[in-house]
């Protein structure tokens, strides 16, 4: 009997050994190109960032970032498969290769970025946010202290949950967290009066408030519980994909800085081609320098990106601008030379 068991174990081990896949340094970048499709993890439930329209398509800032990546990597901003993900499953989805990258209101933090933590790598921040609290005007709550012993509606499995805990704990205020699975449940809980306040990123609070019947009846408290720089992320082991993502985001910012827009990109390319002196512009648009190849993309990736999504300012204006459904003042999301914090390193 023992011989039988050891034989089985041995055989199983042998079979397992045969099945070991060759661990070369192949990047997901090639996989995406071969597949001719980008699998992009989004939330699908956050107005302004990613939500489903009545025709079933996704729309929002996060979605446009996905499109920019698809344009850069594949050359076609429509070749995307969107995966709506819950907050809880998003990192597992990246680690298991279920999605190529994540563009889903994800806060850039040390433990998520590090190999000892969640093992991701973040692209540059696409939206600077901060966690806030929204309360009803009639409740006369004006600061964190007024929320002592009150219930607060939180989305589960997010940094918001941790931040609110840290904030109340450091102020030694007791509170009751009511945890829901996604934002519209948090909104429902808050509107129905289950909680005295709801907490989320301030952008999401604003977005949610814009959909309320009486937006003026709700105020977002001045207390900012945390910095929430939201950034796309990919698997930390995949340096090539991370590089590509990083510079696609920078290209959006840099294009706004240089005044290159969706409508004038062709014009700019023509000008750059005819003027050998415009060295920085020629490098940026991939006419000189071969920058794109260095990060595994085509040299003219910037042209593809801008002509399909426009620059960062255009994307912002489309989904979060004054005339959009979810108006959020640009504030610190302006460029560095305009009072904000977005800046792109040089394309050299």
């Amino acid at each position: 009997m023992r011989r039988l068991v050891s034989g089985i174990v041995g055989l199983a081990a042998l079979l397992a050994g045969c099945a070991t896949t060759n661990q070369d340094n192949s990047s997901r970048l090639n996989l995406i190109k071969n597949r001719n499709e980008l699998i992009c993890g989004v939330s699908g439930k956050i107005p302004g960032f990613s939500f489903m329209k009545s025709d079933g398509s996704y729309q929002g800032l996060d979605v446009d970032i996905c499109k920019a990546f698809a344009a850069a990597i594949i050359g076609d901003s429509e070749k995307i498969q969107y995966r709506p993900l819950t907050a809880a499953e998003r990192f597992t989805a990246i680690k298991t290769g279920e999605i190529d990258l994540l563009s889903r209101n994800t806060t850039f933090t040390l433990s998520r970025d590090s190999s000892g933590g969640n093992g991701l790598t973040f692209a540059p921040v696409v939206f600077h946010d901060g966690q806030g609290l929204m309360v009803k005007k009639e409740s006369k709550i004006s600061s964190l202290k007024d929320l002592s012993n009150k219930s607060i509606c939180v989305g589960s499995g997010t940094t918001t949950e941790q931040n609110i805990n840290d904030a109340f704990e450091s102020a030694s205020l007791p509170y009751t967290p009511i945890k829901y699975q996604d934002l519209n449940q948090v909104v429902a809980g808050y509107l129905q009066g289950r909680c005295s306040a709801m907490t989320s990123d301030r952008s999401q609070l604003a977005a949610a408030r814009s959909g309320f019947k009486n937006p003026k009846g709700h105020i977002i408290l001045e207390d900012v519980l945390s910095k929430e720089p939201l950034a796309p992320a990919s698997d930390g082991q995949d340096q090539k994909l991370a590089d590509a993502m990083r510079w696609v985001v920078f290209s959006l910012i840099s294009a706004e800085e240089q005044g290159i827009t969706k409508s004038n990109i062709d014009e700019k390319v023509r000008i750059a081609k005819n003027n050998p002196q415009l060295k920085p512009l020629r490098r940026f648009l991939g006419i000189d320098g071969g920058l794109g190849e260095k990060i595994g993309l085509s040299n003219d990736f910037v042209v593809k990106v801008i002509s399909s999504t426009g620059n960062y300012g255009e994307i912002y204006e489309r989904h979060l601008g004054q005339n959009s459904e979810v108006p959020i003042p640009r504030g610190q999301n302006e460029l560095y030379n305009n009072g904000g914090v977005h800046i792109s390193p040089p394309f050299n």
């Binding site: 089985i8 079979l15 298991t96 698997d235």
Partner: protein, 292 residues
């Protein structure tokens, strides 16, 4: 010859089976090393750093993940135990009215059963919570959308919605089990107690029900097990049961495999608890029948 063949067949199947498992585990280890997570349980003793709305035992966010999971398990147990009692009560009541003579009540309970059985539990839970409990605007008899305060004890509306949703859903199934049990008692028994002059109610309780119990208990057990499993839908109404806490922890630590194993073990334990209790009850019933 025959026996050898059998051993050979089993050996072959073993090789294939364990080989497959070997391949899968091998893939898992490769994938886990790739993600840099590895496989261990030492994180269980790090501080959880999230708060819980409901904790039957003292809990703060600086307690360990293990303690948080245990609290979750207790929360599950709490809602399972209480809805088990409520569901049995409701189910028996509806089962009786369904098998009883009052046709109006019978019609109502039949309607109740079709509505409850033909819509998904998840939807029902969300309905009870978001529409039912959160819809309560005023504070009547200490009932508000914050929950119910009952002589110092506070039951949150999440707990109550889950309790109510699970109980109502399970009661429709229990009612059918009870009805089946009652119908399994020979018609002659009804005639017998009626001819003795016993009232319908008394006859049902003292003559029919005891005889129906052996047919009812197994069905009841499986409904209880279903209830326990369905309690994991707590996540949809914001109640911190074992699954919801596992979910939060997976999100914070990324330890999906470990958490899944913990979930498996906790449910195997729950199952053992329920089946053994029911078996004990079953044996008690059988014993009492022998003496009588």
């Amino acid at each position: 010859m025959k026996i050898n063949q059998k051993i050979f067949l089993q050996f072959g199947i073993c090789v294939i089976f364990f080989g497959l498992i070997g391949i899968l585990i091998n893939n898992l280890t490769i994938n886990l090393t790739r993600t840099g997570l590895g496989f261990n349980f030492s994180w269980l003793f790090k501080p959880a750093s999230f708060a819980l709305a409901e904790h039957p035992l003292p809990y703060t966010s600086s307690d360990s993940y293990a303690w948080a999971l245990f609290i979750g398990w207790l929360n599950s147990l709490k809602v399972i135990a209480s809805s088990l009692i409520l569901a049995t009560f409701l189910g028996t009541l509806i089962g009786f009215t369904r098998a009883g003579k009052n046709s109006l009540l019978g019609l109502i309970s039949a309607g109740y059963i079709t509505i409850i059985r033909q819509t998904p539990l998840l939807l029902q839970l969300m309905f009870w919570y978001f529409v039912g409990f959160l819809g309560l605007k005023d504070n009547i008899f200490n009932i508000s959308n914050q929950g119910i305060e009952f002589s110092g004890l506070i039951f949150s509306s999440e707990f109550l919605a889950l309790l109510l949703g699970l109980s109502i859903f399970t009661s429709a199934y229990i009612a059918e089990v009870i009805r089946g049990g009652i119908l399994s008692v020979p018609r002659g028994q009804w005639e017998a107690f009626r001819s003795l002059g016993l009232s319908e109610r008394k006859g049902l309780i003292s003559i029919i029900l005891p005889q129906a119990l052996p047919a009812i208990i197994p069905g009841l057990t499986s409904q209880y097990l279903n209830l326990a499993k369905n309690s994991t839908l707590a996540i949809a109404v914001g109640y911190s049961d074992i699954y919801a806490i596992n979910d939060t922890i997976i999100n914070q630590t990324g330890r999906a495999i470990e958490c899944f194993i913990i979930l498996l073990v906790s449910f195997l334990l729950l199952n053992l608890l329920i089946t053994n209790t029911m078996e004990f009850i079953n044996r008690l019933i059988l014993k009492s029948r022998k003496y009588s």
